[in-house]
């Protein structure tokens, strides 16, 4: 397949880097200011290096990438809230040209799911978005395999930054601010960690799952989620939980039409008490009990792996 990759962060760059290994050709690669476009395939390594050294991926205009020759548009620009732009516009552009879309950007399917589905119905192109929930973990494809109507609840740890902070606080008896600073030094947490520690990122993932489970019956956005973060949790709360064989994790839940994210008590050695940046999702199935999917929920190559799995689904 010929790919146009929009977004040159960790995920977009990893898709460009790994595409050849999966048998695909990158014909366009763009960040917000520049693009590299070549119908026969761009020099991915050169573009990635140029992004690192000069801050641009090539000499072309980003519009040229969108208008170029490709079978699949890979949307890997940052997630934005509200109107989900410019990601949504990119999806619209590709679908209007009857091209497929693979999203790594959560915005369009978390904030404008019905709009995306309406555009998809009018298009010969299809939209896949495995990478938006749980990085490398096959969460949405597992739901698709079982059938969304055979999944009764989904819950899990869906943000590695928050989980890293909570597991360090519990293991070392340290306070939130201390562990956050450490996480920032290690590059696990962003300079502005609000999106992760206030539960917004986990909530967006849960909203996407809720949209998939609901089919076209109801559209969910962030406004439908009840969200609590971890930044007000004192170390003493984790100590007390620990005395009782429990720990606290930031858990996202989609059950009975409700979307909820917040710190919850879980058994210390239970499946949900994953440590560090590991993620886990538990699916309650109608006839097959509980199913756990655990793995790396973020990261460039990890998320790119999910993107390329979607591209392979489109190629079949």
């Amino acid at each position: 397949m010929r790919l146009a990759v929009i977004g040159a962060g960790a995920v977009g760059s990893s898709v460009v880097d790994l595409a050849g290994e999966y048998g695909h050709t990158v014909t366009a690669f763009a960040d917000s200011r520049s693009a590299a476009v070549a119908p026969a395939g761009i020099d991915g390594q050169a573009a990635i290096e140029r992004k690192e050294t000069e801050g641009v991926v090539g000499d072309a205009d980003p519009e040229d990438a969108l208008a170029g020759e490709y079978d699949v548009l890979v949307e890997a620009t940052p997630t934005t809230l509200g109107d989900a732009q410019p990601g949504f516009g990119h999806v619209e552009h590709a679908l209007e040209r009857d091209r497929h879309v693979v999203l790594a950007n959560k915005g369009p399917v978390a904030e404008r799911y019905a709009d995306v589905r309406a555009l998809e119905r009018e298009s010969a192109g299809e939209v896949y978005f495995e990478a938006t929930v749980g990085g490398a973990m096959p969460v949405l494809s597992t739901i698709a395999d079982f059938g969304p109507d055979k999944i009764t609840a989904v819950r899990g740890v869906l943000n590695g930054t928050a989980n890293f902070i909570l597991s360090r606080m519990a293991a070392e008896g340290l306070g939130y601010e201390h562990v956050l600073a450490e996480a920032q030094d290690l590059g696990v947490a962003e300079a502005d960690p609000t999106f992760d520690v206030e539960g917004t990122d986990a909530a967006l993932k849960c909203v996407i799952v809720a949209n998939v489970l609901a089919g076209d019956e109801r559209e969910y956005t962030l406004d439908d989620a009840r969200v609590e973060g971890i930044s007000d949790l004192p170390g003493s709360a984790l100590d007390l939980a620990n005395e009782d064989g429990r720990t606290i994790r930031l858990i996202g839940e989609v059950t009975g039409g409700e979307v909820r994210v917040g710190p919850r008590l879980v058994p210390e050695h239970g499946a949900l008490a994953v440590t560090g940046t590991r993620n886990i999702v538990q699916l309650e199935t109608a006839h097959a009990g509980q199913l756990n999917v655990s793995g790396r929920g973020a990261g460039g190559p990890e998320t790119a792996t999910a993107v390329l799995a979607d591209v392979d689904r489109l190629a079949d």
């Binding site: 949790l233 004192p234 003493s236 709360a237 005395e243 009782d244 050695h269 239970g270």
Partner: protein, 177 residues
């Protein structure tokens, strides 16, 4: 993988047995065979149902996963299971409260939970590293009567809203059975 690490909980199953020798034993075997720990058996011999069956109430401990297997095994044996899991006898509920717990009248908080929900406080633990005037955390373990855990949680949320506590709730292990 999670089978051995899931929390053991107490459950009540209500069965209806045919009045015939050996039926009680036949009903208990699937529980023991599937890793359930029998706590008590209440055999209401004098109280026959309209269909002429004998109601039996069995309290047991098991992990949520094993409990599912137990209920399935009972049904496979042709035992009539009237009620399973939905009403858990003596269910324990642990919550962590965060906020100004000490200087917002701790005993009022605890007695209101007990008075208005039918739950009793089994265990209470406080951590106040900043002293009594600062923010503290408390772990409260409640033993709720059957079907009362939701009422207990409602009261806790009501008090929390009033006294500006953050509540860390337990995650319920799905809608088993």
């Amino acid at each position: 993988m999670s089978d051995s690490t899931e929390e053991v909980r107490a459950y009540t199953v209500r069965l209806e047995l045919v009045d015939r020798p050996g039926e009680l034993l036949r009903a208990l075997e699937p529980i023991a065979d599937n890793g359930g720990n029998l706590l008590s058996i209440f055999h209401e011999r004098g109280n026959v149902t309209p269909r002429g069956h004998i109601p039996v109430e069995v309290d047991l401990e098991a992990t949520p996963e094993r409990f599912d297997d137990i209920v399935d095994a009972l049904r496979d044996e042709g035992i009539n299971v009237i009620q399973a899991g939905a009403e858990r006898y003596g269910e324990e509920l642990t919550v962590v409260l965060i906020g100004h717990i000490v200087d917002t009248d701790l005993s009022d908080t605890l007695s209101r939970i007990e008075d208005s929900s039918g739950a009793s406080v089994r265990d209470f633990s406080l951590s106040a590293p900043e002293g009594r005037d600062g923010e503290s955390s408390a772990r409260v373990r409640l033993a709720a009567q059957r079907g009362e855990t939701e009422a207990a949680m409602d009261i806790i949320h009501e008090i929390a809203a009033e006294k500006d506590f953050q509540v860390v709730e337990p995650l319920t292990a799905g809608d088993a059975a």
